[in-house]
């Protein structure tokens, strides 16, 4: 299986042993060994997944690296975090996706399935659209963030509220809802500017970045 190793905060190394890895287009910065690159549409997934991505605008441009050797990935000087996925589902936005491999099943999820109307509102508020990308199985996903990605643990006793624009993804058995703080001040332009929050409850981890999109 492809081994992920963090080189520094902005660079990740993946060791391939006659294997394949999928990464954001243009993210490969160097490689050693016998590795070939090609545009990937299926990304190790089925046709249905590809069609789903195409119609939902979660159509991330991916390229596949295949062979034996080491590949180094980095993107735009953004910070890289390797998120382990252990028999659970990781939800991330497709634009923060750096690299993953075929051990994980990628899918596209309608936010409405996850939190009903609230989920749709969340997508609209955070500017992420109505769909998000999911990964299921056992493996690793490398994601990008502006500043270090911060993992906030969520337990049934301690839910967490985050700014929708700072949210980058979450894992575990978590449900999200929108908390609004709309009152008369909002409408006369005297609001705090923090009128919408996403509240995550359940058990798992929420990832945020120290930057608002």
């Amino acid at each position: 299986m492809p081994a992920y190793q963090q080189i520094n905060e902005k660079m990740v190394e993946v060791t391939l042993n006659n294997e394949e890895i999928f990464a954001k287009k243009g993210a490969m910065i160097s490689y050693q060994g016998d590795v070939a690159f090609s545009r990937s549409f299926l990304a190790g997934q089925g046709i249905q997944s590809m069609a789903m991505r195409a119609v939902t605008n979660e159509g991330y441009a991916l390229m596949a690296a295949r062979g034996t050797g080491k590949v180094f990935y980095a993107y735009d000087g953004l910070f890289v975090t390797i998120i382990p996925v252990r028999n659970e589902t990781l939800y991330v936005e497709s634009d923060v996706l750096l690299a993953f491999d075929a051990r994980l099943t990628a899918g596209t999820m309608f936010l409405g399935n996850q939190g009903g109307v609230q989920g749709i509102v969340r997508g609209a508020v955070s500017g992420q659209g109505l769909f998000t990308t999911t990964f299921q199985g056992n493996g690793e996903v490398a994601i990008l963030s502006d500043g270090n990605a911060i993992g906030l643990p969520v337990t049934p006793e301690v839910p967490v509220c985050v700014d929708p624009q700072a949210y980058i993804g979450h894992t575990g058995n978590i449900s999200s809802s929108i908390v609004t703080d709309l009152n008369w001040k909002t409408f006369v332009g005297q609001a705090s500017g923090e009128s919408y929050q996403m509240k995550f409850s359940g058990s798992g981890t929420v990832y945020i970045q120290a930057s608002e999109r």
Partner: protein, 247 residues
């Protein structure tokens, strides 16, 4: 956590933190314009081409395209350099040569000879002394052989000049070939800088966020060799690129 520094407790020829570097200036050095953030002592900054430093420049600075990017610092004192929050590192050359991306070259001592590399946008440093360069994220050193995306090459040392390698292996099937022509199936990773032999390659995360006039100077210097028809073709492609960047 936040130390207050004075001339007595500043590090000597070492990093102050990841993003700034302190140089003990004894006589003369070259530094990139605008990268001085503070200094102690009596230092003066002279543009190159002025008579006082001309003798030095003639010997050490052999890259006329970049002459306006650098100044000579003279005197004695402690000079602090910084570059827009990029990581700084110092490389000690000992009768060696090292090539760095011109945009990332911040300073070098006067015994190091600076010449233009055959790869445009890079400068080759030859001799014995210190070279200070910035990078986006910490520098990663790679052993040869390896292939590196052009944007991520910070520099290389002790190895033959690199060449370009085009990876068109996947353009074999008919669909791929059609796609490649239209740019549809390209992976964005078709062209890499290929390093062979032995030595070290310096790799950074991205070249974003560094301004320098080197690339522009390179293009302008070659314009005189173009025919009128070629110039108008260049104008068209400039507009094409501008259109794409606006998107």
């Amino acid at each position: 956590m936040s130390t207050v520094y004075n001339p007595g407790n500043l590090p000597s020829n070492d990093n102050l933190n990841r993003f700034s570097f302190v140089i003990d200036v004894k006589d003369q050095m070259f530094i990139r314009k605008g990268k001085m953030i503070a200094f102690y002592g009596g230092l003066s900054f002279e543009a190159m081409g002025t008579s006082i430093v001309d003798m030095l420049v003639r010997h050490a600075f052999n890259a006329p395209k970049y002459i306006h990017d650098f100044v000579v610092v003279q005197g004695g004192g402690q000079l602090i350099l910084g570059d827009n929050g990029n990581d700084l590192a110092c490389y000690d050359l000992d009768a060696a040569n090292m090539t760095v991306r011109a945009k990332n070259l911040l300073a070098f001592t006067k015994d190091v000879i600076c010449q233009e590399s055959t790869l445009p946008g890079f400068l080759t440093m030859i001799g014995t002394g210190k070279v200070i360069a910035s990078s986006n994220g910490p520098v990663h050193f790679l052993e040869l052989p390896c292939r590196v995306d052009e944007q991520a090459v910070l520099g290389w040392a002790d190895c033959p000049s690199p060449s370009y390698r085009y990876d068109y292996e996947h353009v074999k099937g008919f669909v791929s070939a059609v796609g490649a022509v239209t740019g549809f199936t390209l992976s964005g990773e078709e062209k890499q800088v290929d390093f062979t032999g032995s030595g070290t390659v310096l790799v950074q995360s991205s070249e974003l966020g560094l301004a320098g006039s080197g690339v522009l100077a390179n293009i302008i210097s070659q314009l005189s060799s173009l025919a009128p028809t070629e110039l108008s073709m260049l104008g068209t492609s400039v507009q094409e690129v501008m259109k794409q960047q606006r998107r």
